[in-house]
């Protein structure tokens, strides 16, 4: 099997396998979770009282990682937030940046060059932040005794895969720029089943292959927490109506009660 055969497999066959495999397995996983019954109420208090309250709490939790902060683990909280937010920027940046080849900010009234500059700025920033935060996540697994104890091989594998992906991505960004047009044509070609030439950039090829490895491992690893998170959280943050409604302590009364003030009696 020659090099060209391997390249053909990795870049014109495997992407379809990866995409299908990823989507089917995640769908099965989620379907299984939905199918399993919840026999009893698992709410952990303080609980929201209404459905909308629950959604509010879940959104707050998702975007601020409130629980981690609450646990008095501020450094870890900081890097987790940085990691996940730069991940969002990077993912969105990939879609916009490649599709519009960096000119998406023209829709906000910037010129093409300015848009590319801004796009690069965000990309560079997110790339660096992502690298730093992943390094922190890896180092804490090595150097914090208890974290080392609870870690297993897959924890490291995922982090090394991420580091590989981020390093090659950043290499394209800082050392050996890839032509976004080429990337766009190639990816778009995959989408419409037409074989377009590969971008002439070794970093891109490694980057793309690693991402495929990552996605293939995704459904069988702890990475499913990206979807499962919403399931686990909605179990413990389920809204609970109070049984004795007329005697419900109002927010003001609770606040007074906490501060030790005498309750307003009616």
């Amino acid at each position: 099997m020659g090099l060209s055969a391997i390249l053909f497999f990795l870049f014109y066959i495997l992407p379809y396998i990866t995409a299908l495999f990823f989507m089917i397995n995640m769908a099965i996983k989620i379907k299984n979770w939905v199918k399993v019954p919840v026999p009893y109420e698992l709410t952990v208090f303080p609980s929201p009282l209404t459905k909308s309250g629950k959604i509010k709490i879940l959104l707050k939790e998702t975007f601020t990682f409130r629980t981690l902060l609450y646990g008095n683990n501020k450094i870890f909280w900081f890097f987790s937030v940085v990691f996940h937010f730069s991940l969002i920027v990077v993912l969105v940046g990939h879609i916009l940046g490649i599709y519009f080849t960096g000119e998406h900010f023209t829709y906000l009234g910037l010129s093409g060059d300015e848009s590319k500059l801004l796009s690069n700025f965000f990309g560079n920033l997110a790339g660096i932040l992502l690298m730093i935060s992943v390094l922190y996540l890896l180092l804490r697994r090595y150097f914090i005794h208890l974290i080392r104890i609870i870690s297993v091989r897959s924890d490291y594998l995922i982090l090394y895969l991420l580091i590989g992906i981020i390093l090659t991505g950043n290499a394209m960004r800082f050392f050996n720029g890839v032509e976004l047009i080429e990337v766009r044509n190639y990816i778009w070609g995959l989408a419409i089943y037409s074989m377009e030439p590969l971008p002439k950039n070794a970093w891109f090829l490694i980057h793309f292959t690693l991402v495929q490895m990552f996605l293939l491992y995704f459904p069988f690893s702890k990475l499913v927490h990206s979807c499962g998170y919403f399931f686990t959280q909605s179990l413990v943050k389920n809204q609970i109506e109070r049984q004795v409604k007329e005697d419900d302590i109002t927010t003001q009364q609770t606040a007074d009660s906490i501060s030790g003030k005498r309750l307003i009696s009616n």
């Binding site: 987790s80 091989r153 069988f220 499962g228 686990t232 609770t254």
Partner: protein, 449 residues
């Protein structure tokens, strides 16, 4: 969903805490049967299915578990505790190619693994503190409950828990009090009340048509009698007709800890008795986990109810707000601190109600830290009250002892029968001079009749 009681109700055959010998299931058959049970549970409890896959081992739970803080055993870290099962799951039940599942650390399901389950799932108090601090909201207590049930079906149940459950099924209370003793005890308490207050305060038994069915912890009739007397005074002062039931004089429900059929049977019994006595509401006494089953599980088990099940603190606060009862806080002049039982704070959200009452009926109330939803467990939760485990219990109580020590209070108000049984030992063990009392004791003391 109800897990069908297995055709062999093995928990009732379990004999001893240690050695953890199989009784019906021979050792050789345990792994295969255990795996079958585990699979069944994962297919029937969404929480379990999710927890097997969604933990990222971030370590946020490490320093939040009193069990780990007290024992310093790495398997008592919540993530490691769950890993005892997760490894088996990854080996035998998870989807995906074997070489990838291997990376998650696998273990075969053999008798050593089952023994480690027995050891570590009986070192978890099911306090759910980890669920408060887990960024994914993983509640290790759910895993503990499920795994203890698996163990129960394998014939592995501590003798103490087994005895209590047997008492519960036989007499309707944990202490195994027969009717005659119950009547005696009530007579005695009525005499005491007469002596103390000079008033005829009745403790009615099996009165049909009373407004309230009060369901105390059975310990209230023998060891923590001040609590029940306090409640009797409260109902007397508020002018509410109430009754106890001789069929069910136990608000605790050990079924929650290890055996769902027991949980369901006991829960249904109370509702049945409530309907028989035609009461307007059921008031649950001072018990943490029992209250969790009444508040959170009753509707699931029984469907819609004709009456609410409320906690005695909600009831008392109600009376106080309606000015039906009054307190003289000078009756309780010692400094009081409040211990939040896990199942009242995290599991049912009764945190401000008892404090509101406390501020009215004691003159010196100080908070301990951590308080409320973050409070540490007393170390006796989930039925770990056996003498055989005394050393472990003291270790589990260490985190709580530290927080109590810092307050310097003279009375520790711990409104839960298990906490009341566990904390005096813990306080003595760590040389803290403090009296452990229930909140109803303090209410009874401060009530103006």
């Amino acid at each position: 969903m109800t897990l069908q009681p297995n055709k062999q109700l093995i928990p009732y055959l379990a004999k001893d805490l240690s050695p953890i010998d199989a009784l019906v299931i021979p050792d050789s058959a345990k792994p295969a049967y255990g795996l079958e049970l585990l699979e069944r549970f994962i297919k029937n409890k969404r929480a379990l299915a999710l927890y097997m896959e969604n933990c990222t081992r971030c370590g946020a739970c490490i320093n939040q578990c009193h069990s780990y803080l007290g024992t310093q055993d790495k398997n008592n870290i919540p993530v490691m505790r769950t890993d005892l099962v997760r490894r088996v799951y990854k080996k035998h039940l998870a989807a995906g190619p074997a070489f990838l599942r291997k990376l998650d650390g696998q273990s075969n399901l053999d008798n050593n693994t089952i023994d480690s389950w027995y050891k570590y799932f009986y070192q978890c108090n099911q306090c759910r503190r980890c669920a408060v601090f887990c960024p994914k909201g993983i509640d290790t207590a759910e895993v503990t409950i499920a795994m203890r049930e698996v163990l129960a079906h394998l014939g592995m149940v501590p003798k103490f828990i087994m005895d209590v459950t047997r008492n519960l099924t036989r007499t309707g209370n944990n202490m195994g009090i027969p009717l005659a003793a119950l009547e005696d005890s009530i007579d005695f308490l009525e005499d005491e009340l007469k002596e103390e207050t000079g008033k005829d305060i009745a403790i009615p038994l099996d009165m049909v048509g009373a407004e309230v069915l009060y369901n105390p912890s059975s310990a209230d009739l023998f060891s923590n009698t001040d609590g029940l007397m306090g409640v009797a005074k409260m109902f007397y002062a508020a002018g509410v007709s109430w009754t106890l039931s001789s069929q069910i004089i136990e608000t605790a429900n050990f079924g929650l800890f290890f055996h769902e059929p027991t949980l369901i049977a006991h829960n249904k019994k109370l509702i049945r008795v409530g309907k028989q006595l035609k009461v307007k509401r059921i008031v649950a006494g001072e018990c943490g986990h029992g209250w969790r089953t009444w508040r959170m599980f009753t509707k699931t088990i029984n469907g819609p109810l004709p009456f609410p099940v409320v906690h005695v603190f909600e009831e008392a606060l109600n009376y106080y707000r309606q000015k039906r009862i009054k307190f003289n806080k000078n009756k309780n002049i010692k400094t009081v601190t409040f211990h939040d039982p896990c199942n009242m704070s995290r599991a049912t959200g009764i945190v401000e109600e008892p404090r509101e009452i406390l501020r009215e009926c004691v003159s010196n109330f100080i908070e301990m830290a951590p308080r409320g939803y973050e409070s540490y467990c007393c170390g006796g939760g989930s039925g770990l009250l056996m003498d055989e485990d005394y050393e472990l219990r003291m270790k589990l109580g260490k985190a709580k002892a530290d927080s109590v020590m810092k307050t310097g209070a003279e009375i520790l108000c711990a409104p839960c029968a298990i906490c009341k049984a566990q904390l005096p030992h813990v306080m003595k063990h760590y040389n803290i001079k403090i009296e452990v009392k229930g909140l109803t004791d303090l209410i009874g003391n401060a009530l103006i009749l």
